[in-house]
Structures are given as C-alpha cells and as structure tokens.
Symmetry: C2
C-alpha cells in the first residue's frame, strides 16, 4: 500500500514536522487491538507491568551506552532557563527564524529511544534479583531522530516490549518462545513474515564492526513484514540478546552474585498496523473475518 493511500484514508495525518503524524480513531483501534493480542499471548507468563513516560534521565540513557553507539538518533530535551531580557532575545530570534540553540540548556532528560532502556536502572535499584529472575512488560512512545517521509520510519512511534532478566538459559528460552509466538501471531493475522539476523544502526565507522559482530552472533533477530511504502520490507518485531551487557552496566546480579543475562523483545506497533493495512486494506471493517476475529475488531 502506498503512502498516499494511507494518507488519503486519513489513517495518519501529517502534523507539521517530518515524521510526525496524527492518528485517526481507525488507526488507533488497530493499535489497541494489536496490543490486546500481544498481551493475550503473554497472559500466562506472569510478567510485571511497568510504565515509563516518554522522557527519561539523560544520565541513565548515557550509562546505557546510547550516546556512544546511537548519538545520531538521540533526542535531548533542552529548556529555556533565562530571565526576561533573555526571553526578549529568544522571541526575537524565533520571529527572525535565527538559530535558537544557545538560548536553551540541557534539562537532564532525553526522549526514550526504546521502551526497555528505563527498565534496567529501575530493576537495579531494587537490589539483588530473585533466583529465577524477572519478566517485565513495558510499552511507550519512543523517539529516534531520523526525519523521513516513510510512514514506517516515524520519528516517534510506540513499542510494546517484554524484558527478561535472569539466568542465561531462562533468557535464551524467553527469546525462542517469542520468536515462535511472533511467527504464529503473523500467521493468525494472515501476514507473510520471515525472520532474519539483523543489526542495529550503529554510528560511524566503528559501528560497522559492531554491526558485523551482532549479525554473526545472531544477537538480533528481526521479523520482516511488508510495511514500507509500496509494500517494501520493514522490521516489525525484534528479539535482542544482550548477554551480560546491561547487567554489567547496572549490576544486575542473581543470588550468589553472578551477573544476570538480559534480553528484550519488541513489537513496533505502528509498523505492525501498517503491515495490516497494507495487506488487508485501509478499512479494518472490511478485513477477512479470521483476521478481525483474532484482533477482536
């Protein structure tokens, strides 16, 4: 389905900045239905729900290593902290469309780039993990600075995630389980899907080495659907093994003192919805009965 068809149907509406869109009631009904379906899959797992706002401590994001490997995607919240004279200068620059960067200062918070980043420090603050570890259910709006006209690459979008923190073998089992679930969920929604080893968009020339490592170790597996403009492939789900990476940063330790392993799985909700609209049409009332039934629509 073309960008034009989605916009013409009013499912997404350009909102005055590249990669920022309003969502219609029809689009949101599909997002809500997808969320319900994903949570139903996990209903028996005993996950603990945690919710974080769309901004987080910039120091926490930095300690997670974000500014080392993804500086180009980060969004930092800068604020005006001046007096009335400073304000007159700011307003003058805004009116004259001059660069206002120096009128704003870092506030110490940054936009959340993936729903799981705030989880690791929050769990670390609780102290030692239980023996079998923890399973956290988390969702939020995420921001990545990649302005684009591609509806499947918005600057701000929602992610439904599960994060497993625990013994290595339990974490590996969690990943296998969700790869199976994601594939069977696509079958129920009549979405042709394939899994592939992938890499994150690491910054700079050093990033190429990290990307190759990640692919070779199959640390990141993505589920690919036709969700891009004119049906191009887009990753709509990813399954990520971190080994001891985040556990070492935050001191996430199992009883006895050894570091936990962590993994996260995440559904890109806007992309999944776009895959559904691309496959089945812009009016969800006209989708195949089995798909509507699976989604409760």
């Amino acid at each position: 389905m073309s960008r034009e068809a989605i916009l013409h149907a009013g499912l997404l509406v350009p909102a005055g900045a590249s990669g920022i869109y309003a969502r219609s009631a029809g689009f949101e009904a599909v997002i809500d239905a997808l969320t319900r379906l994903i949570l139903e899959e996990a209903a028996g797992d005993g996950a603990e729900r945690l919710r974080f706002p769309p901004v987080m401590s910039q120091a926490h994001l930095e300690r997670n290593g974000y500014f080392s490997v993804f500086p180009h995607l980060a969004g930092c919240v800068h604020c005006f902290m001046g007096d009335e004279a400073d304000h007159r200068r700011l307003v003058g620059k805004l009116v004259c469309e001059e660069d206002t960067a120096s009128e704003f200062s870092p506030s110490g918070v940054a936009l959340v780039p993936a729903a799981c980043y705030p989880v690791y420090p929050a769990i670390a603050a609780r102290g030692p993990l239980p023996e079998t570890g923890l399973l956290i259910e988390v969702a939020s709006y995420c921001f990545r600075h990649e302005p684009s006209d591609d509806l499947a690459r918005q600057q701000t979008f929602r992610m439904q995630e599960f994060v497993r923190i625990g013994p290595a073998e339990a974490v590996a089992g969690f990943r296998r389980m969700w790869l199976d679930r994601a594939v069977s969920l696509c079958a129920r929604l009549d979405l042709p899907a394939r899994l592939e080893a992938a890499n994150d968009p690491f910054f700079g020339s050093g990033g190429q080495h990290l990307a190759q490592q990640q692919r070779e170790s199959a640390a990141k597996i993505e589920l690919i659907l036709a969700a891009g403009p004119d049906g191009e492939d887009r990753s709509c789900f990813s399954c990520n093994a971190h080994g001891e990476h985040f556990a070492a940063i935050w001191g996430l330790r199992l009883p006895g003192g050894r570091l936990a392993h962590t993994a996260c799985i995440g559904f890109g909700l806007e992309r999944f919805a776009l895959a559904l609209f691309t496959r089945h049409g812009t009016q969800h009332a006209a989708w195949p009965g089995a798909v509507r039934e699976a989604l409760g629509l």
Copy 2:
C-alpha cells in the same frame, strides 16, 4: 497522603531525574479506569478521536504563542547532527560532565505541553468547519519543565482532553456541561471538590497582567482536589475558554466566514489518581465499594 506513602507502596518509583517516575501496574489500573469513566461520560457526545505523539512541530507550538507566554515550561528536542570528530568531542564532554549544549542542534520538534496544542493546526488544515463545529477527543503525555519532588507536579504526565471548536454559544454550553460533569464525577468517586477561577503560570512581569485578565474574565476554571503532598490542594481538571484566540491564529472559520470560538477541558490523570489514592488509600482493592464500582475496579 504523603509522598512517602505513595513511594513506599511502589505506586510511583523515582526514575533518576527530578519529576520523572515509573508507574506500577496498580497505578496504571487506576489511570485506565479513570480514562474509561471520563470517556463513558462523553459517550453520547459524538466526539472524534485524534491521537498525537508526545512531540509536535516546534513551529506549530510557537505559532500557538507558547514561547511568548510559557517559555520557561517548554521542552525542545535538540539532536546531535555531527560527524565522527564531533562525536569524539561529545563523548569526551559527557565523560567529563562538561556542558554539551553546543553539541546539539534544534530538531524542529518540541514536547507537547498540553494535549490540545496539536489539535488546532490539524483541524485548520481540513479547511472550513462544519456549521455546528467539531468536538475532538484527545489524550497524550505532556511535558512541562518544572522539576520538583511534588508527585502532583511531574515533568511528564497524561492529560485527557476534549476540544470544542464552533459557534460561541455552543462552545459556552460545552464548558458548562463539563463543569457539571466534573463535579458529579468527583461526587461518584467520593472526592471532595471545589471549582475556582484560576490563571495559567504566565512568564515574567508581563505575565501578571495576563493572569489577572484571565481570572477576571473567568476564562479558566479549575477543579481543586486534595492531591498534593500531605493532601494539599491541586488543580486536577481545568476548563478553558479561548474566545477567538486560537481560531484567529489558525484561521478556524465557520461557514459564512466568521471565526469560531474554541474551548478545551482537560483532566490531569496522574493528579486525579493521586487524589483517589490520597482519599481512599494506596490499595485500590480496599477502596469503598461504590468508588470501585464507578471505576469498574
């Protein structure tokens, strides 16, 4: 209820920056229930749902007048747009905890400070209004730069709003209806409430005049509940008449060409939830039966 009691119950969990908290499943259950209750009140009104992400066009926010009157509350998204040499300098500054302001540039997007700000340009882009105007239902995370330890003054919080755009008399009726509804909703939840004329926190000495004008014209009415630390008063709902202010900015015209009036009403969901916990205790399972029934909890 004290800050300590809310934190001790784990309803909100400090997340590493002033005014930023994780929400527990129990807290979110109350937020979801409040949202359902508010939407039920409006079920017969025929509102159109629109959803916006938590960031919006900074140019739209500026055209809404935000940087003139609330510059101190705005959060602008600044991004790193440099090359590998710039990145090495950025990482060095982060490691040494030096000021990184100059390493980031304005991205053209800002955090949404109230759920209704993106609505006016989105509706204006549709062209002339229908004769009876429009009613929009909108909700989002909002950001205001006022770091604080007060759980009822978080930097980032959710607002459930309705926006009425139409003939003056219809817009006035919308305001009266929601003042009544908000009061009766508090009665159902056994929350002692009062209405009062209020003003926005306008910036600077010029702002004092605007505040006085706003109070004298009763353009802003707030509903006050015991939601602050140790039960202090906090505004948990507000009802705002804009006259032709936003209509003139965005060219929102009724058939025939005269400017529409606009008004918005907004529930501060975190504050409303805090009012409920303060009044009825930290465990919603132990709240009075009538309150749980009203909330479907």
